[in-house]
Structure formats: structure tokens, C-alpha cells
């Protein structure tokens, strides 16, 4: 970010003004439209909080926003996530908005601004958009006003982890020459791709399609920390999501990089399957959308774009997804194995509902006594390198291991 965005202590009134301009001015406009799923007593609380905010009663508004957050948080944790009514997520976002704008007095108060930014991020992660994605705008303003000490730029003593990665076990790069390779094509036409790969459901690596995207030259640890360092993101901790001691937690991108990327952490941390580009639109400008997505039925807005960012060694166990996938590699390399849906019987999916799309087999260390059919199941494999796109057809089983510090972007489309 450019230097001129930093406005230390002089910004006191400017920050509050900027935020005031962003927000709806009257309490009628401030409270989001809600349906009947939200009890009237809760709606009343929202009105009270809005009135307190408009009346300048910062501390009381903060208290009311905490209650709004706690109540809606409980609704968000009741039942399956996809069944949570969107209105409750709007209520949660509203609580985050009020909390963010009420949390601090002085912009020089670094911890308070960071806490306000975290409140925005919680609203973006778990809430639903209100007032035209106002949380994104508030987050951008707050980020620009973090006191300079808090905004990590490239320091002089930042080691390059890709050179320093001296893990106990050297990374094993499979000899893909001995395995059946995923075919590669350079900029195929839409028709050719559709006819030969999309319709028959065959994987292929597309070269020359994404290699000119700005991310390919712009992205580095320093750049990511600069743009997104203070933003809160979900991180998966544990070697793979089928393990007992796997968990998800929240931390800032800076914390993630310092704990799981730069240092020799005992645990594997993975910023996985996160819609980072919705949260931080500035990053979205560095990526494109593969043209081939237009061959699908859905609209461009319906394409789900996920970030996958982590150290060498992250593993996604063999699993299948319900949509077509373009996996774009930006930083580092990934070893990927692909099994056709026709081989599903040999892949021993878990029987639980939670993991029914995941194989029980550890692909690179299979227990062939327990899973005998696996040994004979044919597969394709590749090492996906920066600039390349892997097309993973819908329901095609895939296993992924990062061979280096890696950043991938996936596009799920139908």
C-alpha cells in the first residue's frame, strides 16, 4: 500500500468523519430490513442500538451491539450452517458494524483499531452483506488508519522461507514420470475444452491461460502481509481434516504467516477454502476468471473463488466436490493425484454423513490390508506449478500435497 494512505495521529476527526459518511445517517436507514424469522424483541434491540449510535452514546451502543452479537452468534451455531437463516447473519453483520465503529476513541489507539478491524472481519466471515457490503468499506478505512507500527511492511530481517525450510524430513517429491500424467494443453479453444474435457469429465492442465495474471508476478509473502496482514482469517490446524486433532481457528494473516509459514511449527496450519477475495477485494484485482467458466450454466457471480495458502506439507485428503473446479497455482508447487468417479468403490469413502465425500485411504501411505482394492485403482497425477491451471471435473476424486510454500486459487463453477 502506498505511503500516503497512512494518517497517524492527525487523523482523529478525519477517521470518524470518513466512517460517518459511509454509514446510513438515520436510524431508520441504519437498521437492516429483516423478515419474520427474527423475533420482534431482537428487532427492538437493533432499533435501540441504532438510536444509541445516532445519539452518540458510544459506550451504551457498544454494550447493545455485544448483546446483538451474542444472541445472533447462538443462532448461527444452531443447526447446519446451510440452514441458518440469512437474516440472522444480517443481524450478526449489523452487530459487527456497530461494534467496529464504536470500539475506538482515537485512531492512534492501535489495539482498538485492530479490534474494530477484527469485528469487521467477523462480520464478513460469518455475517451476510448489509448496506451494500458496508463492512468491506469500513474495513478498508480502518486498515488505512492503523498506526504505522501495526502495518507490517517488508522489514529488513525477513527471511525467505522457501530457502530456509529445513524441516526434519526433506519433502518427498513423487517421481511423477513413473505415474500416468494429466494431459497438458496450451490455450485450447472453448469448444475443444468443452468437447474433449468438460463434457466427458476428463482432467487437463491448461497452460498459458493464467500465467499473465498480475498475481503471478505480484504475490509474495511481503505483498500478502502488506495488503492483508492485519485481517482475520480462518485457519485449519492439524495435518489433515480427517485427523482427530484437526481444528479450525481464527487469526490474522500476520499471525498465520509468523506461526505456520515462517517458523518451524510442530503443527501444520493451512489457510484453506476461504473466500479471501470477497473479504479483501483489493486482492481480487490481481486474479482473473478462467474464460472456460462461461461454458457452465451459472452466472459469474455464482462462481465460488477460494484461496488456499499454506506452508510446504499441507495435505488435502482424497475427496470429491459437487462442482467443476479450476485450480490455479500461483506460488509454489503442488503434487496432485486424481481418481475417476468410476473408481469410487476402490476408494472407500467414509460412511458418516460428515465425511461421505472423503476417502478413508491415505493416498501416499495406503493401508492396503484394510483397503485392498485401492492398490489397483488407476489414477492420473501431476506436479502443478505457478501459472498453470488444473481442471478437476465435478466429482473427480483429488488428493493434494504442497511441495513448497504454496498459494492456489480455486474456482468452483457449474
Amino acid at each position: 500500500m502506498a505511503e500516503d494512505h497512512r494518517e497517524p495521529l492527525a487523523g482523529a476527526g478525519a477517521l470518524r468523519e470518513t466512517l460517518r459518511v459511509l454509514l446510513p445517517h438515520t436510524k431508520e436507514e441504519l437498521v437492516p430490513e429483516l423478515g419474520e424469522k427474527v423475533e420482534r424483541s431482537v428487532v427492538r434491540l437493533l432499533w435501540e442500538a441504532a438510536e444509541l449510535f445516532c445519539g452518540g452514546c458510544r459506550r451504551e451502543c457498544l454494550q447493545a451491539s455485544e448483546a446483538i452479537l451474542d444472541y445472533s452468534w447462538e443462532k448461527l451455531n444452531t443447526g447446519p450452517w446451510q440452514d441458518v437463516h440469512k437474516d440472522w447473519r444480517r443481524v450478526y453483520a449489523f452487530g459487527c458494524l456497530l461494534k467496529a465503529v464504536c470500539l475506538f476513541e482515537e485512531p492512534g489507539d492501535g489495539p482498538a483499531v485492530a479490534a474494530a478491524l477484527k469485528a469487521c472481519d467477523m462480520g464478513l466471515l460469518m455475517g451476510a452483506a448489509i448496506h451494500g457490503d458496508i463492512l468491506i468499506k469500513v474495513a478498508a478505512v480502518l486498515q488505512a488508519h492503523l498506526p504505522s507500527g501495526k502495518r507490517p511492511g517488508p522489514g529488513p530481517a525477513q527471511e525467505q522461507p522457501s530457502m530456509k525450510k529445513a524441516r526434519d524430513d526433506p519433502v518427498s517429491v513423487p517421481d511423477v514420470a513413473l505415474e500416468r500424467p494429466v494431459p497438458r494443453l496450451r490455450c485450447p479453444s472453448l469448444q475443444h475444452f468443452r468437447k474433449q474435457f468438460l463434457v466427458p469429465g476428463r482432467p487437463v492442465i491448461l497452460e498459458g491461460v493464467a500465467d499473465q495474471w498480475p498475481c503471478m508476478t505480484k504475490w509474495s509473502l511481503e505483498y500478502i502481509q502488506d495488503i492483508a496482514g492485519c485481517r482475520t482469517v480462518p485457519v485449519e490446524v492439524g495435518s489433515r481434516y480427517t485427523d482427530e486433532d484437526w481444528s479450525q481457528t481464527l487469526m490474522t494473516v500476520n499471525e498465520f504467516i509468523s506461526r505456520y509459514v515462517r517458523s518451524e511449527s510442530r503443527d501444520v496450519g493451512y489457510l484453506a477454502q476461504h473466500q479471501l477475495f470477497d473479504q479483501i477485494p483489493e486482492l481480487k484485482q490481481d486474479i482473473g476468471i478462467p474464460d472456460y467458466c462461461c461454458l457452465g450454466d451459472g452466472e459469474e457471480e455464482e462462481i465460488t473463488i477460494n484461496a488456499w495458502f499454506g506452508p510446504q506439507g499441507t495435505v488435502s485428503p482424497l475427496h470429491q466436490d459437487p462442482q467443476q473446479n479450476f485450480l490455479v497455482q500461483v506460488l509454489g508447487r503442488k503434487y496432485i493425484r486424481l481418481y475417476s468417479p468410476q473408481e469410487s468403490e476402490a476408494l472407500y469413502a467414509h460412511e458418516t454423513h460428515l465425511l461421505h465425500n472423503t476417502s478413508q485411504v491415505d493416498v501416499e501411505n495406503p493401508d492396503l490390508e484394510k483397503f485392498p482394492k485401492f492398490a489397483e485403482a488407476p489414477f492420473l497425477s501431476c506436479v502443478l506449478s505457478p501459472g498453470e491451471i488444473l481442471f478437476i471435473p465435478v466429482q473427480y476424486w483429488h488428493y493434494v500435497r504442497a511441495l513448497d510454500l504454496s498459494f492456489s486459487v480455486s474456482f468452483w463453477w457449474s
Binding site: N77, T78, H353, L354
Partner: protein
């Protein structure tokens, strides 16, 4: 007693369908509803659970949902006197005064070490055991006990001093227990003062509510709302 209806053939739910039949062979004595699960205590003191299981609140050892009442096999043979359901956790008290608890522990409502309290620095310092280095400790070699996010099997919980429990009630994310000697212990989420310890700290271990001791009151019963706690107490010496 609600939500169980007289005759124990059905119960009321706050969400439609509001009237829900129960199989008569269950012989329900008491029923408690959590945010997404149900607990049933039958005439023989056996516990059944059903509903969503993603937070371990059903106690069958998995995170799978159960569509129908399923017997808690882990407690078979241990007649229970009480069951209580929190938002995402479950408690029962045996006829001999033991407490069993399972489900979500995000605010310490299971009285097990929880990461969120340790990170916020809000855990009340554990009694010095000589081995405690600041993290939770367990095991004689002083190795820190792990944080527990959820417990999908019933776990036996001891109150300080080995007191016997007679009654239990749960709020959304906190737990309250009455002992045979008329004391009240609470733990879990405390942000709205629901633990009664004169502060808003959450706890991941049971703590006696000193108010009743100080005022020489004997606690007879406890009933928790979502974020609050109601206590029935009488002056000591009254029958």
C-alpha cells in the same frame, strides 16, 4: 413438567411442529431441550438423546445426528436422577450424586480446559499443584492437559471437595449444580453475570457461589434461563 406434556406421550417444541409425540415405550419422566438436541430421562433412570450431534451433545461418541431417541449406552446401568440440557451441552446427575457431562466446551461449560479462556487470560488460576506451569495440567509428570473443544462421550465430573450433586440446570453456555448440602456451583459462560460470582468472567472449572454461603442460605433448586440463573434458597435451620 414442560416441555414434557402430561401423560408423557408428547412434548412441546418452540419450533414447528410444536406438538411432538413420544413413543410410549420410552416412559419419559423428564425431557430437556437444547438449541438443537433433546434429552430424555425415563422411569428407570436411563438417558436418551436425539437431534443434531455436531457439538458432541448427544453423547454417543460421534458427531452424527440422531433422528430418533437413542439410549446413552455409556450410562447404562447407572440410574440417573436428573438430566439438564444447555444450548449445546448435556448434563445428568446420578442417584448417587455423580455428575456426567458432555457436548460443547467452548466457554468451559463442561468444566474442562478450554482454549478461549486461556487465550483471553480469563481462566481463574488453577489451584497450585506444584506441577502447574501456567497451562492446564494433568497427569503426574506435569505435562499440560490438552484443551478440549468438545466431548462427545459422557465424562464424570468431580466437584471440589467431592460434594454430591442433587440437581442440575444448564443455560445456553453455562452449568449450575446444587449439592446435597445445599451449596450451588456454577461454571461456563459468565459474560452476563449468570454464574453469580459477582463478575463477568467465564470459568472452565466449578466454583461455589459464595453469596449463599455468606448469607447462610441453603440452596434447594436451580433453574437456568439462556443467559441467567434462578435459585431457590431457604435460610439454614428452616425445614
Amino acid at each position: 413438567a414442560l416441555p414434557l406434556l402430561p401423560g408423557a406421550r408428547a412434548y412441546v417444541s418452540p419450533r414447528p411442529p410444536f406438538y411432538r409425540p413420544l413413543a410410549p415405550e420410552l416412559r419419559a419422566r423428564r425431557l430437556e431441550l437444547g438449541a438443537e438436541h433433546a434429552l430424555l430421562l425415563d422411569e428407570a433412570g436411563q438417558v436418551f438423546s436425539w437431534g443434531q450431534g455436531r457439538h458432541g451433545q448427544l453423547g454417543h461418541g460421534t458427531l452424527e445426528a440422531e433422528p430418533e431417541p437413542r439410549l446413552l449406552e455409556a450410562l447404562q446401568g447407572l440410574p440417573m436422577a436428573e438430566v439438564a440440557a444447555g444450548g449445546w451441552h448435556s448434563v445428568c446427575v446420578s442417584e448417587t450424586g455423580d455428575i456426567y457431562i458432555w457436548g460443547w466446551n467452548e466457554s468451559g461449560q463442561l468444566a474442562l480446559p478450554t482454549r478461549s479462556l486461556a487465550e483471553d487470560g480469563k481462566t481463574v488460576a488453577r489451584e497450585a499443584s506444584g506441577l502447574n506451569e501456567g497451562g492446564p495440567s494433568g497427569g503426574e509428570d506435569g505435562a499440560p492437559a490438552p484443551f478440549i473443544a468438545l466431548q462427545p462421550f459422557p465424562a464424570l465430573l468431580d466437584l471440589p471437595g467431592g460434594a454430591d450433586a442433587v440437581k442440575a440446570s444448564c443455560g445456553s453456555r453455562h452449568t449450575a449444580v446444587v449439592t446435597r448440602t445445599g451449596e450451588l456451583y456454577t461454571w461456563g459462560w459468565g459474560k452476563y453475570g449468570q454464574l453469580g460470582h459477582k463478575d463477568t468472567t467465564s470459568l472452565d472449572r466449578p466454583r461455589r457461589v459464595e453469596y449463599f454461603v455468606d448469607k447462610q442460605l441453603q440452596v434447594r433448586a436451580v433453574s437456568c434461563g439462556l443467559w441467567n440463573t434462578y435459585v431457590c434458597a431457604v435460610e439454614r435451620g428452616e425445614s
